[in-house]
Amino acid sequence: MLDVKTQDLEVNMGPQHPATHGVMRVLVRTDGELVTGAQPHLGYLHRAAEKIGENVEWLQYLPYTDRYDYLAAMNNNLGYSLAVEALMDIEIPRRAQMIRVICAELNRIASHLVAYGTYGLDIGAFTPFLYAFREREWILMLFEKICGARLTYSYIRIGGVFNDAPPGWLDEIGHFCDVFEDKWREYVDLLMMNKIFVERTAKVGVISKEMALDFGLTGPMLRGSGVDFDLRRDCPYMIYDEIWQAGAYEIPVGTGEQGVLGDSWDRFYVRVQEMLESLKIVRWCLANIEEGPTIGELPKTLKVPAGEAYVGIENPRGELGHYVVSDGGKVAVRCRVRGPSFVNLAVLEDLLPNTLLADTVAIIGSTDIVVGETDR
């Protein structure tokens, strides 16, 4: 049947299409139901973050980091802070590191909840979205208590965190952990093992291990293809190595249990399992956190020693890298941002051809991009 040549039709998906999760356009060429070519067009949300980074002071740039992956702003703050700290000789208090990890991991859960909910939405399951946003709302409320913001936190700063947790906040996190673990099981039953969902995602959009490495995929996209690699364990930063040594968490990897290794379902199940692992990390921190200062000693005007450093951290979507260059002044010479969504999106060019048009949305959704980060 596929031999029958019909006239090629070019379809614009986006820039305002619910499945593109923001303003992105995918130019899809189709031959009947078959996709013969795909070309992502980005840049609609380009806000020149890297140029701004060269024009504002080191500390002033922090709020801009919130805005690339707006679903995981804590992690962005963390990545930038670690990169600047790599150039400075500064000790981060232990309590600050613990709070950083708690916030980063809670934010990972919140981000994966959005991924989970909207992926269901993309392929026609509306209810899981409501469940996911209920729990996410709780996390956002907890963040609001600690820093006053729900989405763009600027809470993790160069040198530590902005302020100590308010009284009772850590207990509330503990309560959240207990409740969430039960809810998580509901999610798995509700969507991940749902027969319709499995049929729509298993064996769809298969990324082989070789392809994943060639395209430089990171995060759940890479682990979904069966590559056991996580920066938190393998290139540890902060106290993640200690947590790993304590045996507090594991790295979920795709197994192809519902279809083929590296299909959309695998990528998604990795994300869903990661929520539970993040929960374990948070619990470990809650059990081991001690009193103490929450920010290191910083001068009033921050001058960063001359040099250059690259720091990559494990964001919910993959490796968020900051490459910063300083000449010893108050402003960066270069503030390069390597966004995981940008890199992960490139795979669509090779992944979409020879799939069915109906699967396009399932495949785009499984890359879990945030357009704020692809365009920066």
């Binding site: 980005l42 840049g43 380009h46 020149a48 890297e50 140029k51 060269e54 790599a86 150039l87 400075m88 000789d89 490495l213 060639d214 395209f215 430089g216 990171t218 590559v227 690699f229 393998d234 290139c235 020693p305 001359a306 040099g307 250059e308 450093a309 690259y310 990559g312 490796e319 890298g321 490459y323 260059v325 300083s326 000449d327 010893g328 010479v333 270069r334 390069r336 390597r338 940008f342 890199v343 490139a346 365009d375 920066r376």
Partner: protein, 172 residues
């Protein structure tokens, strides 16, 4: 491997275009002008040899860099004669990283594409080209990626002048 071991191995393999390395060092207390250098070490590679150098990095068992994490450029200062082309490699099996730097003269900003070695470089090179005006020879898709096709100038160059208007819309 740590950086010294990586560098020694690259030298022993006779890596194409390898032209020294740069490591962080403390401030010289005698010299008041000296600022020292913080951060991460990197190797210097001649820009025209980049594809061959990366090929070795990818295929050599002891190096084992499966992933090109990032490719970008730096314009250190308006009066400088060179742009830096900076590549970050990551080895999953050996868990080490390598930063590679190449000098690209501003007078003739050309570099060979490395996308045949690492497909990941393709989009990074497109971004680099529109932001810094570096031409990647042999690039299969040299369109703009983040900027409109008719954008004038290279925004991340230090001598970039902000436009006064774009398509009749005032930017001031």
């Amino acid at each position: 491997m740590d950086f010294q071991a990586l560098y020694a191995h690259l030298q022993a393999q006779g890596a194409a275009g390898l032209g020294g390395c740069d490591e962080p060092r403390a401030k010289d207390p005698e010299d008041k002008q000296d600022k020292g250098r913080a951060g991460d070490p990197f190797v210097l590679v001649a820009v025209e040899q980049l594809p061959a150098f990366l090929q070795l990095c990818r295929d050599d068992e002891a190096l084992g860099f499966e992933v090109l994490i990032d490719l970008s450029a730096v314009d250190p200062a308006a009066e400088d004669e060179d742009l830096w082309l900076v590549i970050q490699l990551l080895s999953l099996r050996h868990r080490h990283r390598l930063m590679i730097k190449s000098m690209v003269p501003k007078a003739t900003p050309c570099a060979p594409t490395v996308a045949p070695v690492y497909r990941a470089a393709q989009w990074h090179e497109r971004e680099c080209a529109e932001m810094f005006g570096i031409t990647f020879e042999g690039h299969s898709d040299p369109r703009h990626i983040l900027l409109p096709e008719d954008w004038v100038g290279y925004p991340l160059r230090k001598d970039y002048v902000f436009p006064k208007e774009y398509r009749g819309v005032s930017c001031e």
